[in-house]
Every structure is written in C-alpha cells, then in structure tokens.
C-alpha cells in the first residue's frame, strides 16, 4: 500500500467516524423543526421544516421550561463556583501545609472516591427530606460538594507550585489567605479551568440525583424536564421534546467550540478518576 492509498483510507474512516459522531446533533436540531408526523416520515428526513416555533410553544405549554432552564443554570453555576472554592482551598491545604495526620486524613477521605454514589443516595434522601430541601436547588447542590475528586485533582496541581514563591511572599509580609488568593490561585488558572469545565458539564447533565430530590415541575432541571416529557404513559410531542434537547445541549456545544482545548483537557482530567 502506498502512502497516498493509506492516506485516503484514513481520511475515509475518520470522515465516517466524524459523521456518525455529529449526525445525532444535526438530526435533533432538524427534528426540532418537524411536526410529530414529519419526524417519523422518511421523506422529510434531514430536511428542515417550519414548526420550530410551534414546537417551542408546545414545550412551554407542557413544561415550565424557562424555570427549568433557570434552575439548570443556577444549580450548575453555583455548584461549579462552590466546588472550585472548596476544593482548591482544601487541595492547597493538603499540598502545601505539613501537619500531624495529614496523609492519614487525606487518604481516609480519598477512599470515598471508590464508593459508588448509590451508597449514599438513600441516607442523603432521608437527610435532605428532614432538612426540608426537597424540590429546592440546594438539595442538588450541597450533597455533590462532598465529592473528594476535585480536592484530589487540585492537590496534584498545587503540589507543582514552587514553595519558594510562597516563602518569599511570606517574607514580604503577606498573610496565608492573601498568598493563596493573590499569588497561588492566579498562577493555577489552567487547573481551575479543567476542574471547572468538568464539574460544569457533569452537573449540567446530572440526572439520577435530581430525579430523586426534585419532584415538582417548577423545580425540575432541564434534563429532568425532558425526561418527564417522554415518561411512559405520557402523550409525547416529539417535536417539543427535540426543542428541549436542543436547549439543553446547544449552550455546552457552543462553549466547546469556543474553548475547545480547555474543554478537552478538562474532560480528560476526569479520566484520572478511575
């Protein structure tokens, strides 16, 4: 096989893979412009029609979709900000201060990464119910903050930060907290970006836990609202559901196209989770 031939074969395979990967996105966007019958009619396949606004109105009529969108944004943004705040501070504490029992404490916490989240679901549900948090965003936000993964990731990054810089800031008379926020954190932007993006994408698509603690339509997140629209027994308006799906994936997709490199790096940082 000549170089030219193998080049052509590789291009063909990669093109097929790309088309398969992207096709469902395009199909969903086009189906959002179809009526219920057009979606299942092969002669309309992949040809945009004019029912997008109608589908959007149907969606609005069957779900408080703007509330759901707001809930998703509020939960995801708050959760990501709090995760970055708590995990970076804890990661820095574990990386840069020596104190008695540090390693024992860190590894004791780390073991919880091995425990599947299903273990704490029932007790957390009872707890959240007692706190009167059911149907509030806090029921989704707070329990997830206890995950150890971000602390682990941030500790690894902070360990590479030069101690000399911290020492010289101390000699200059800066307090410990100021050193962290003004000297260390600004230099670790890539680590914050990675954890932030990973956390954002995971929480944006979070389904199982919100399904357990949110059960009024107004409190639903976007994925939950979409799932409820297709729940068994419901009369399903597929065009409206497709509009919902587009609202759910378009923001993430646009951010991805804008910040591709950071995104891939951030998503891959989840791979050390294993």
């Amino acid at each position: 096989m000549t170089k030219k031939q193998s080049q052509v074969i590789i291009y063909i395979i990669l093109t097929i893979v790309s088309v398969v990967a992207v096709f469902p996105f395009i199909w969903t966007i086009i189906s959002a412009t179809h009526t219920n019958t057009q979606i299942f009619n092969p002669s309309y396949a992949m040809i945009p029609q004019s029912s997008f606004v109608g589908n959007l109105l149907d969606l609005q009529a069957s779900m408080p979709i703007w509330n759901n969108l707001f809930n998703s944004i509020f939960i995801t943004v708050t959760f990501t900000a709090l995760t970055l705040f708590l995990d970076s501070m804890a990661g820095y504490g574990f990386a840069k201060y020596k104190f008695k029992g540090r390693n024992v404490l860190f590894f004791a916490c780390l073991i919880t990464m091995m425990i599947p989240s299903q273990v704490t679901m029932v007790p957390l549900f009872i707890q959240v119910t007692k706190m009167n948090w059911v149907n509030t965003s806090w029921a989704v936000i707070m329990p997830g903050l206890a995950a150890m993964f971000g602390v682990f990731l941030m500790r690894q990054s902070f360990e590479q930060f030069p101690n000399d810089l911290i020492e010289s800031s101390r000699i200059d008379g800066a307090g410990e907290i100021r050193i962290f926020f003004q000297v260390v954190a600004p230099a670790m932007k890539p680590a914050f970006a990675s954890l932030g993006i990973l956390t954002f994408v995971q929480q944006w698509g979070n389904y199982m836990w919100p399904l357990i603690v949110l059960n009024s339509e107004k409190s639903y997140t976007l994925p939950l609202a979409i799932a409820m629209l297709v729940s068994p027994g419901a009369v399903i308006n597929y065009g409206a559901v497709m509009v919902g799906a587009v609202i759910a994936f378009l923001p993430v997709l646009i951010f991805f196209l804008l910040f591709q490199k950071n995104f891939i790096q951030g998503m891959l940082s989840g791979a050390v989770k294993g």
Partner: protein
C-alpha cells in the same frame, strides 16, 4: 497573632470548610447507610433485622438478573469500544493526516450532550415505527426491526448508544497517550526493519498500556453504574432484559421505598467495584 500560630491555623482554614461539607454529606451518609442496610425503615424509625436485607438480595432472582445484564453489557460493549477507540486514536495520531484538530473535535462531541437528551434522541432514532434507523434499513431492503420489543435487540440499542457517546472520548484519551510515545522508538524499529504491525504490537501497545488500562477501568466503572440509558431507552424492559443493577436499586429504593434493601444492594455493588479497583491497582502496579 504570631507567625507560627498563623501557619498552624492555616490548614484548618483551608481544609476546614470542605471537611465540614464532607462530614455532613459524605461521612455521615456512609455510616447511616450501613445502619439502614441492617434494618427496616418505617416512618422515620429503623427496626434492626440483621443481615436479612443482604440475604433477601442474594436469593432475589431479579437482582441477579440485573447484575447479569450489567455484566453482559460490560463484557461486550467495553472491549468493542476500547478496540474502536484505540484504532481511531491511532488514526487521529497518524502523521500523514492533515486537519487532525477538526476530526478530534467532531469525535469528541458526543460526550458533551447530557445523558438524558441523547437517550431520548436514540430512542427516537431507533423508534420501531418510522424511526431513522429502520428507515435506513428499509433502504437496504432489510425489514424494520422491533428494537424495544426483544431483549437482545433492546440491550444492543443500549450498547450502540453507549458506544456512540463514549468512543470519541476514549479515542482522545488514547491520542493523548500516543502523543507521549517517543518517536525515536519507532525510528529505531524502522532501522531494524520492523513493519507497521510489528511496531504496533511491540511498541505502541506496551507503551500505551497505562493509558489503555485507565480507559478500560474507567469504562468498567461507568458501566457498573449504568442508569440513565436503560431507564430512558427501555425502562429496563422488555421483561427486565435491560434491567441494570443501579436501575434495580433505584426502583427498590425510590419506587417501592424499601430503603433497607436498596442500601444493602448498594453495598454489594460497592464491594464489586472495590474488588475491581483492587485488581486495577494490582495490574497497574506491575509496570
């Protein structure tokens, strides 16, 4: 406040806030779930029943079936996807291809869509009446398949969906591993007259082993906790043939509100995952 005292207090200030959240929403629930798994929960009180919940599960046919289904998906889908991801990763890394960034971007996209939206989209693509996949099959003269009415077909839809979503992600993981392999190794092998396949088996695979294992164990962990796809695509049907372990636990815990049994089941799952993690650490250490 003295300098020494400040430095001693600093870790408390930095780690303290996380530890408080950790204690309330991780430590306490873990301990509480052990108690729950040993009891029956009624109207806020726990009646101690010993190991009865565990005994019940170990004799419950549906729990076994759900574990078996999970393992079937694991044993077929994870190897298929890993091989595909390895191939695509190598192609994305190939020196003779231009526009790699563009291909990498496209293959990475599926992992960004939320699990619910993509499950709903796949349920429509595979719809039995006029779904896109059946329409394509019809074009090639193959009759429409009842994807969600037969166990094996329903389970394959879930595996196809999972493969669509995660192959690109794993390809990019492989790609990052491949980019770290020194070119000198390949050049030295070329001088020794090794062909592409020899180079692949003797250099690429051994050098990529840690990354490969990462990707595999990641996928195994994810598959063991499979929930969204079976819940939305098939609701565990037909006749429980796509019931996965976590879907079973969800139904026992939050549809039947049998908290004791759900907690016991989650511990059985945790033990399975712990065993796998142990094997993983062992295998990875050998290098």
């Amino acid at each position: 406040m003295g300098y020494k005292l400040k430095q001693k207090l600093a870790p408390v200030i930095f780690i303290g806030p996380f530890l408080i959240v950790f204690a309330i929403f991780m430590l306490y629930p873990i301990l509480y779930s052990i108690v729950l798994s040993l009891g029956k929960y009624r109207a806020g009180n726990i009646v101690f029943v010993g190991l009865k919940n565990y005994q019940y599960l170990l004799t419950e046919g549906l729990f076994y079936k759900s574990l078996l289904n999970t393992f079937i998906i694991l044993i077929i889908q994870v190897p298929c996807m890993t091989v595909l991801a390895l191939i695509f990763g190598c192609l994305l890394n190939s020196a003779i291809v231009k526009g790699k960034g563009l291909f990498r971007m496209f293959t990475f996209m599926p992992v960004l869509i939320d699990a619910v939206s993509y499950s709903v989209v796949f349920s429509l693509l595979f719809s039995e009446n006029g779904g896109f996949v059946n329409n394509i099959l019809n074009v090639f003269g193959i009759s429409s398949q009842n994807w969600f009415s037969s166990g094996p077909l329903a389970i394959s839809v879930i595996m196809i969906a999972l493969t669509w979503r995660w192959t690109g992600y794993n390809s990019v993981i492989m790609l990052s591993g491949l980019q770290n392999i020194s070119n000198d190794l390949y050049e030295a092998a070329s001088i020794d007259g090794a062909n592409t396949f020899v180079k692949f088996w003797k250099i690429t695979i051994p050098q990529l082993k840690p990354v490969l294992l990462f990707s595999i164990f990641n996928s195994i962990n994810g598959t063991l906790q499979l929930f969204t796809e079976p819940n939305l695509l098939t609701s565990g049907g037909p006749a429980n043939s796509t019931m996965t372990a976590v879907l079973y636990l969800y139904k026992v815990g939050f549809k039947q509100f049998n908290f004791g049994i759900a907690s016991a089941g989650s511990y059985i799952l945790a033990i399975l995952i712990a065993v796998l993690t142990f094997i993983q650490l062992h295998v990875t250490k050998e290098d």
